[in-house]
Symmetry: C2
Subunit: 313 residues, 2 copies
Amino acid sequence: MSRVAELIEGGMQHNKEEQLFLGIDGGGTKCKAIVMTSNNIIIGTGISGPGNPVYGIEQAMNSITESANLALKDAGLDNINLSDLIAGVGLAGVNLPTLFEEMSIWKNPFKKMHLTTDLLIACLGAHQGSDGAVIVTGTGSCGFSYVEEQAVILGAHGFPQGDKGSGAWFGLEVVKHVLLSLDGIIAPSSMNEEVLKYLKVSSSVELVEATAGQPATFYAQLANIVFTAANSGDDIALKLVNEGAKYISNVARLLLQTNPPRMSLIGGLTPILFPWLDKDIQDELSKPFAPPEVGAVFFAKQQCLVATAEQLI
Amino acid sequence: MSRVAELIEGGMQHNKEEQLFLGIDGGGTKCKAIVMTSNNIIIGTGISGPGNPVYGIEQAMNSITESANLALKDAGLDNINLSDLIAGVGLAGVNLPTLFEEMSIWKNPFKKMHLTTDLLIACLGAHQGSDGAVIVTGTGSCGFSYVEEQAVILGAHGFPQGDKGSGAWFGLEVVKHVLLSLDGIIAPSSMNEEVLKYLKVSSSVELVEATAGQPATFYAQLANIVFTAANSGDDIALKLVNEGAKYISNVARLLLQTNPPRMSLIGGLTPILFPWLDKDIQDELSKPFAPPEVGAVFFAKQQCLVATAEQLI
């Protein structure tokens, strides 16, 4: 009988002797949590709001705690608290030293918290804890390779100054085109009508009002319009999709120079962007094994092993 | 003896019978105020912080009041209060209906407030209260024409989705280039070193940290670097300057279709951008007569005349 089956049979009573792990993937739009047993069985999951400390340390901490509580509730373990869990926490933004520092000193509710970037946990998840590389294209974009304990980051520059080939980038580019064409500066494209319809506006002034001060997540919603138009042969859309895809292909090519045993494309844009990548890059890409929150658990376990090894020395 | 000379002779006592006017130009970085007599003599000026309600209604109101008080103090008129002044107030952002509405209902400290866009007051100032067109290139960019009571606005789309050819646009474009070249995706340019030096950073991570979440005004600081590099023949800088200048030339060309009697280029980028505009556009441009805050007084006076005429009907 498996441990999980035992748990279920036992009315979700958990043997306090067995260490449980929490994996957290804190991104710009949501925070995902997963509770796993020591032998990698998923027993609960939870999702809450933004977990990226770039947009607020307080909010990130709240989202992490909330998603963890939801995962614990989902697991149905009444006799286990957050303070019993060893947490692996991967957060967008903590590649910036100041944010890493601020999150590290958090008096967190867990037994132990191992903090790292969303990139490392994505990579560990995609390659089942082994070395490899990932290219992430969701709201933002970046490339990451982790080979022989050497990490290489490309992109992760943020919006609007970077994140080329991401959902936000495609959305911003199409809005720029629509605004210029409504002024009569450039020719309109088939995307004009789609963007206005999606945002429920009908004039340049209304579009300016709808887009004023909007964050990356707002623009990322519009990426689908660009890909749909490209697939229908719209020239402007084709130019944008090819430019974004070329950038992602070039990022992949640079990552390959680090000799990753495996490379995956992950993030929300994956299914629509993949067919536009250079063919040689498509051939290099493997499906990810597990999501980043599982990678966060792998990270926590590896850190525990390191700590144990250090104690033995 | 002129009215102003009389005022000075009389120890800055002002004849309460004579109506004084206040002109306000509220922009994204500062708010300028001017106090003028009914016969257009400037007797005081003041400058305060951001007056653009896009970045906060409360702050805009405070900046307007503060700059007006400074202008009144500068005029040295002890017996005059804000409540004695008829104000013409031109604000960036109030071309958006919701912001116009919000600012209109302000219980302002003036005898009367006439509210309009920063564009109209810039145009009225540049052409001494007469019809004309202006192209503004400062932190943001836009074109505006006012001919026979018909206003046409081009651009004014905001950052980062618009404002092409503005200081913020040049700054953002160069940061994008520097970030990509530090990753090895594209070749570096002579601007890399200048941008890193200006922002006092030395790596890609530090540059990401320095630019994360920065507003248009931050990027506008970097525009000079692009123009300096273009003048030294840097290929990337030349491409950017030509792209931005071509856009501004095209905006000017569309404005000319409204048959403005006069057209001016105004805003902080004017001296460095002018030489890069198309030659036919350079020939169409005339120096502005007066700054926007003076145009705001012209606007207030015109509105008073309209009100008087309506009373006579």
